[in-house]
Symmetry: C2
Subunit: 261 residues, 2 copies
């Protein structure tokens, strides 16, 4: 969070400021991480795909808590109304579930016991540190910063499209059912981010606020990048799995047992 | 934090419980991490040593904040009195400074501008996520868990001795002045940890509390391990330095300029 020159200057115009925010994605979004490329071009082993699913579950599971933390600080019913659908999207109803349950469908498709994944055992500590930092950022920082940190969704449709295409092409487990999480996000995320972007452009009316919003978005790209770095470090050769983290054997579905059940 | 069988059983006796805590160090303390071995056997490049100094500074700088967070929750003056010296050890007085200033002496000895290191620029995001998680753990969790998380100091004298010996043997920058941080910790840490261990053994009188204390100490070993993992991932070949993190060129001391000053 270095002080940038424009923090003492006049604010950027609306279009220039949006371009500045988008440039952060061009430089730092996790679609630039080598693990992303490995995953999408079929270079991941089953163990690496599973490690990604186990760890990314922790992120998914904390998103509605993050959104509730945000709403707990909004005095404006209009803002809460706009935000509420994010929690609904992830949790859904008792019967049909939402994004989290769709993630567990993916877990099952890659051969993981969804109960094991949902138990949060075996998650890399670095994953929990990064994700928890995000939840606390949204709980503690000014509302503008909190909304700005959600703007990584500006860059998400591209990564989700690449994921669907790459996974379908390269992995047997990939089909419409197992990838329903990503397909659903293709319609959910643009609605959320359109509102978030408008809020940030409307609210960041000084150079100082623009710098804070850019720093918040940068922080969020770090949260995402650190998660792929931790996966890469633990599970890509040579691989250093930290003590206590998933070692590739726990929580596997016993397919035979399932077939006869 | 898995539920262990003894959490529904009788508590361990005092000696057996202490042995359980020490076993966590045997299995998970960061002296088992390959970066530790590289550092102490002379296998680190100057850039790797500097990256370690820059990132470990962030940990050092947060320790007194962590201790203040702890004391802010202690209603007992005796407990606060016992704890106060930790802040004194790290901050010292205006003139002579304390552990943090000694760390900056080490930074200077390895060729880093101490102002750059103290600016906290270039620190790996994963370092800040892990360290901030520790400060917040101590701020949010029961006092027993907070004290138990400090018990990694049980294992610190060994690592500090190894550091002094290994660094003196292998690196030109190492001498009594540059390593004063570690030498000082050899006398400070045992006093702190003797109190902390007694507090934990006295307070964890049920199996459930013993499990919580063990989980807290495990959490802290994860905080330390994740920091070395992030360093290894970023700065050991092949090395993936995250966007915005120190790239080996910023903050270097211009020795010639210093010599003529």
């Amino acid at each position: 969070m270095t002080k940038t020159s424009d923090s003492v200057d006049r604010p950027l115009g609306r279009e220039a400021f949006e371009a500045r925010l988008r440039a952060i994605g061009d430089e730092r979004y996790h679609d630039k991480h080598p693990f992303h490329a490995m995953l999408h071009n079929g270079g991941c082993t089953p163990m690496q795909v599973r490690a990604w699913v186990i760890n990314r579950y922790y992120y998914q599971s904390r998103i509605p808590m993050k959104d509730a933390a945000f709403m707990s600080r909004c005095a404006d019913p209009d803002l809460r109304r706009m935000w509420r659908s994010r929690i609904e999207d992830h949790d859904g109803g008792v019967e049909e579930g939402g994004g989290i349950r769709r993630w567990l469908k993916l877990a099952e498709a890659v051969g993981l016991d969804p109960h094991y994944v949902a138990s949060e055992r075996g998650i890399l500590p670095a994953t929990t540190f990064a994700v928890d930092a995000y939840v606390r950022f949204v709980r503690d920082m000014p509302l503008l910063d909190a909304v700005a940190s959600s703007l990584t969704e500006l860059f998400a449709p591209k990564i989700h499209s690449e994921r669907i295409e790459g996974l379908l092409k390269h992995y047997d487990f990939a089909n419409d059912a197992s990838l329903s999480y990503f397909r659903k996000r293709l319609t959910e995320a643009p609605k959320d981010v359109a509102f978030g972007l408008r809020y940030v452009l409307d609210t960041a009316t000084t150079a100082e606020r623009q710098a804070a919003a850019a720093a918040a978005l940068t922080f969020k790209t770090n949260v995402l990048w650190a998660q792929l770095d931790a996966l890469h470090s633990a599970y890509v050769e040579p691989g250093r799995i930290p003590p206590g983290a998933w070692n590739g054997t726990e929580g596997l579905l016993d397919v035979q047992a399932r077939d006869v059940a």
